[in-house]
């Protein structure tokens, strides 16, 4: 059973978003980290890069595969969690806390409201299981 905190928003690509004003932290979900296996490297964008919604902003590499990560909402990267590449195992340990990938300044903060709630994401996982 995946850990799906109630205070976050989710995408069908298995990213989570934590909103704070017009800033949003983005990471991958417990389900995603579990499917990938041991994470070894994350290819991050750079501060100042702009992405539209559902665009790939980087990739996450595990011992099994490499997968793209998408930003569920449009915006400009304000911070990158570079430290994660020294301790990529944090993504497997707790994908929600310190293991955020990037923070973006959202073009439209209302966009986050359109994302899945924890209950909806859980339903989505069950339906696609």
């Amino acid at each position: 059973m995946s850990n799906i905190p109630e205070n976050l928003r989710y995408s069908k690509d298995h990213e989570w978003v934590s909103v704070d004003g017009d800033l949003a932290a983005i990471g991958i979900t417990d389900y995603a980290q579990h499917s990938l296996g041991d994470v070894v490297y994350i290819d991050m964008p750079r501060v100042g890069d702009k992405f539209s919604a559902h665009e790939a902003f980087g990739s996450v590499e595990s011992v099994k595969a490499v997968s793209e990560v998408f930003t569920p909402i449009a915006g400009e990267v304000t911070e990158v969690n570079d430290g994660l590449n020294d301790t990529p195992e944090k993504v497997n340990g707790d994908p929600y806390g310190d293991a955020w990938f990037i923070k973006i300044k959202m073009d439209n903060p209302l966009e986050a409201d359109g994302m899945l709630s924890s209950a909806e994401y859980e339903e989505y996982l069950e339906a696609s299981a």
């Binding site: 490297y41 290819d43 750079r46 990739s59 590499e61 595969a65 490499v66």
Partner: protein, 442 residues
């Protein structure tokens, strides 16, 4: 690949099972008007003895192979110990195909790992790949890698980099977004000194050292200039033996070192097949092209070798791969590895020293001749430019008639340098032959 013989009966059976009556029907999807409807225009079969005699007659016409030659310019005449050719002919090494299965490829993976280690040691870099096609394509890959690392498009390359390398890199990157700017070398020193083309859009400064004219570049100064604007310094080395004597590009601040490994025991072979070298710093490894072999230990502590960081490569990343070079010059890299390990550190230094000393002797003797001078003041390794008092092509033609291949006329690549030619002296040039060249020139 196994050899699977089949008899005419078996062939008929195979054709029958796919509903064809003869093998030519396999080609029926090719329009008739583009099919060749006659026999190839080749001579009738010859007896084996006739073939040997025809080949011997042809080989005898290759008089260049027996004349003393002072040609270099990217392909060098070096002595290769017999062990190199002997060992690479072991049947285990004949297929240099990608060792995807480490459990059955430990020997191949080990020599690849050793090759990478040796290239790191020589270039002064932290990571080297399992080889590229050749020096020029390695340089082109360095352009692309520098663009990925810096996210900039401008490549500043010195015109003292091998003209054919620049041409290949231009073709290779033609459909990308690289903006290639060529900058001239200093006419007095033969080195690159004007770096005014560098700016905050520059991905890389690309120089060759020793450069096409044999001049050793001031890499430390160039590295500082490149780094000041946030660009990478790419150093191209066409003469690997120079590593035995010169300060490594890595210790001078190079970010990417690419080169040609032909000097490491590989026959000149009319220009190939040779082997490309590619090395960089560990922090850039994810942006590096090509195959990488790594060392690993199992849970019992046993050492093993395996391909690693494959997620950069096209069989996993598809169009997002760092390059389309997935294969490498496996057999040639093996030959280079055997050469380097046979020579050892002291041997390579000795060869490099002989090259430098013999070339210095030739340079000094030629420059003392009336009508000849050395146009560039920078220090050289085993190649140098000579300026005569008439067309270099005529001088070289006269030398050839006198039985000496005196070098390469620069006019082939550089207009306005009609009186200059490039002379290369390696350990294979005897003092008698150098004296002969000097005699012919005078």
């Amino acid at each position: 690949m196994r050899y699977i013989p089949n008899s005419p009966e078996e062939r008929a059976e195979m054709l029958d099972s796919i509903g064809l009556s003869n093998a030519s029907e396999l080609f029926r999807s090719i329009p008739a008007d583009v099919q060749l409807d006659r026999k190839l225009k080749i001579t009738d079969p010859l007896a084996e003895a006739e073939v040997i005699s025809a080949m011997e007659e042809m080989a005898a016409r290759n008089s260049a192979a027996t004349k003393p030659s002072f040609l270099g310019a990217g392909v060098y005449s070096h002595f290769s110990p017999t062990i190199v050719d002997h060992l690479i002919q072991r049947s285990e090494f004949f297929t240099s195909y990608t060792p995807y299965q480490p459990e059955i490829s430990q020997g191949t993976l080990q020599y690849i790992f050793e090759f990478q280690t040796l290239i790191c040691q020589l270039t002064g870099m932290e990571v080297a790949n399992a080889s590229m096609y050749d020096g020029s394509t390695a340089m082109a890959e360095a352009y692309l890698m520098a663009q990925r690392v810096t996210r900039r498009n401008k490549i500043v390359v010195a015109t003292s980099v091998h003209p054919e390398y620049r041409e290949v890199a231009k073709t290779y990157t033609k459909h990308g977004d690289a903006e290639i700017v060529e900058v001239a070398f200093d006419e007095t020193t033969g080195r690159l000194s004007d770096i005014s083309a560098l700016d905050d859009q520059t991905a890389a400064l690309v120089v060759q050292s020793p450069n096409f004219f044999g001049c050793v570049e001031d890499l430390t100064a160039l590295a500082d200039s490149a780094h000041t604007v946030g660009a990478l310094l790419v150093v191209v080395v066409t003469e690997g033996i120079s590593f035995g004597l010169l300060k490594s590009p890595g210790s001078c601040g190079a970010d990417i070192v690419v080169g040609e490994g032909q000097s490491f025991g590989i026959p000149m072979g009319f220009g190939g097949p040779h082997v490309g070298l590619f090395a960089t710093q560990d922090k850039f490894v994810r942006q590096m092209p090509g195959r990488l072999c790594g060392i690993a230990y199992d849970k019992n502590g046993n050492r093993g070798f395996t391909l690693t960081l494959s997620t950069r490569e096209q069989h996993i990343r598809r169009e997002k791969a760092t390059s389309n070079i997935c294969t490498n010059q496996g057999l040639i890299a093996l030959a280079a590895t055997i050469y380097m390990e046979t020579m050892g550190k002291a041997g390579l230094q000795e060869v490099a020293m002989q090259n430098a000393q013999k070339a210095a002797y030739a340079k000094q003797r030629i420059s003392a001749l009336e009508g000849y001078s050395i146009p560039f003041s920078a220090p050289t390794f085993n190649e140098f430019v000579v300026r005569g008092s008439r067309a270099a092509s005529e001088v070289l033609e006269a030398a050839r008639e006198a039985g000496v291949i005196g070098g390469l006329a620069l006019s082939k690549y550089y207009s306005g340098r009609g009186k200059e030619f490039l002379v290369c002296v390696t350990e294979t040039s005897s003092r008698a032959n150098i004296d002969r060249l000097v005699g012919v020139l005078s």
